[in-house]
Symmetry: C2
Subunit: 82 residues, 2 copies
């Protein structure tokens, strides 16, 4: 069994209206030291099996095919045995 | 300047319909080894200043007041100087 932690983030050049909205909210609450907010997704995926290389290939495939939009998003992940 | 990486996750007892939908999608794509998917938020927050303790207190306050819903979500964060 493996736990994959997947981080999906907008590419740096892509506008992030959700992040801008949160930035405005934080400024309204008085957190004036905040310069920038970018919002992405964080996924925890549990995968059965004990072949680390197969699990790595599977998670990379999942990200390419479903979890991230390659036009506007980057992804990275870590895998840990459980 | 600090970079805060904030992870907001649903509490374990809370149902995650978005995660269940992704789990179904992954099974449809043939990833049958996937047992569970939980989806959370990942935020990158850039904060000016060079007082680490003040930045930590600020980020914890932001999470409590705006970024996480304490009824259904947990949060954790890391801070790194930039």
């Amino acid at each position: 069994m493996f736990l994959a932690r997947v981080y999906v983030t907008l590419k740096p050049a892509v506008n992030d209206p959700q992040g801008l909205t949160v930035l405005g909210g934080l400024h309204s609450l008085g957190y004036d030291a905040v310069d920038d907010v970018r919002i992405g997704k964080y996924l925890e995926i549990r995968i059965s099996g004990d072949d680390l290389e197969a699990a790595e290939a599977a998670v990379a495939g999942m990200c390419d095919r479903l979890l991230a939009n390659p036009v506007i998003e980057d992804f990275r992940f870590t895998l840990e045995p459980q």
